[in-house]
């Protein structure tokens, strides 16, 4: 299985986050565009996997950016804007997911899946298709889904997850374990 490398920002061009935030708080609202451009895709995978829909992820991220703008003055360490925004995204996804009834959940239809269908790509031998995996992920309770994605998709440590979610490390380990067990049950029945 070839693991696709995550995009890594090697160098941030232009003004720093803290400089942009100072300008926005000084009244230059247009400068906020730089932050949106810089982070518009950073947490998109998390939102898409937790919400199970590219459209819902887009809505949640849009709300998160607007909420971050409105509360920008309360970002006490502007140089850590990315981490602060991550918390807002996690909270917005929770709110979004809890508002949505199970009946309304949709199976992921993001660009990767559409691309696979369009060009007739099949998952590599021995790998799992995103549609089956996302469907199984959608079947998990929100807390388990959130913990699994943070741990095994976003590669966060349990300490980082605890900072982000407000849950204890032991609670997060339990959620991840239960998520893994349930995914096994759901996916090991899927023909390879």
């Amino acid at each position: 299985v070839t693991r696709q490398a995550d995009p890594v920002v090697l160098q941030v061009m232009g003004p720093s986050d803290a400089e942009i935030i100072a300008a926005v708080l000084g009244g230059d609202t247009g400068m906020y565009r730089h932050l949106v451009l810089r982070y518009q895709n950073t947490y998109r995978r998390y939102a898409t996997r937790v919400l199970g829909s590219g459209d819902d992820a887009d809505d949640a991220l849009q709300l998160a950016f607007v909420r971050a703008f409105r509360g920008l003055a309360s970002c006490r360490t502007p140089e850590r804007f990315a981490a602060w925004l991550y918390q807002i995204v996690v909270n917005e996804c929770r709110t979004f997911a809890s508002r949505r009834t199970r009946r309304e959940r949709r199976i992921v239809a993001d660009e990767e899946l559409l691309h696979q269908i369009a060009v007739g790509e099949q998952p590599e031998s021995g790998s799992l298709g995103i549609e089956d995996v996302q469907r199984a992920l959608d079947d998990l309770p929100l807390e388990q889904r959130e913990a699994f994605v943070l741990k095994h998709v976003e590669d966060l440590s349990y300490d980082e997850m605890a900072d982000l979610t407000g849950a204890s490390v032991s609670a997060l380990k339990m959620r991840v374990k239960r998520a893994c067990d349930r995914l096994r049950e759901l996916l090991e029945e899927v023909p390879q």
């Binding site: 299985v1 693991r3 696709q4 995550d6 926005v24 708080l25 009244g27 609202t29 247009g30 906020y32 565009r33 949106v36 451009l37 518009q40 895709n41 998109r44 995978r45 898409t48 996997r49 590219g54 992820a57 887009d58 991220l61 849009q62 950016f65 607007v66 909420r67 703008f69 409105r70 509360g71 920008l72 003055a73 309360s74 993001d110 660009e111 990767e112 998952p123 021995g126 790998s127 799992l128 298709g129 995103i130 089956d132 995996v133 996302q134 992920l137 994605v149 741990k151 095994h152 998709v153 032991s170 380990k173 339990m174 991840v176 374990k177 893994c180 995914l183 096994r184 996916l187 090991e188």
Partner: protein, 186 residues
Amino acid sequence: MIEENREGDAFIGRVSSALRPTPQADEAFVERVMATVEATGPSQSRNWWLRPRTFRVSPLATLAMAAGVALAAVGVGQLATRSGDRVPAATAASDTVYLVRFVFNDSAAQTVALVGTFNDWTKSATPMTQSAPGLWTVTLPLHHGRHEYAFVVRDARGERWGADPAAVLRRDEFGTESSIVSVGTS
């Protein structure tokens, strides 16, 4: 004790691999965010006290307050009558009411008014007073329950309506945001 070694097995690796491809935003995403942001107005310094503050008032105190408003109406004539109009709950209440202090911080604002379900969203009904530079306040007697509200701010750029980001937000079917204050329900 959680068995972490089970989490790291090959099966979970395959699940993770399937979920790792990163979706990209469409080209209009930034424009959608900025359109909302620019409609919201400048980001402002907001503190904990921007949340509506609630003080419970006994029925006896309500009667005393109502009497005070009535006396003011007699003494100041037309102006006091308008003042009475601003606080209808105070004069009409027969059960417990709660004094809710609304605070809004905007140094560029020329006038700020509070609108909500308690004044039928009437802009002229509840003007806020600038009690310090940029600090706009008003205190209203509200009954137990859930009240929606928003601020109407007029500054050099014109007039805009905005919800209080420090409070619970409500968005109607048209995407218009207002804020929620729950009185006497905690």
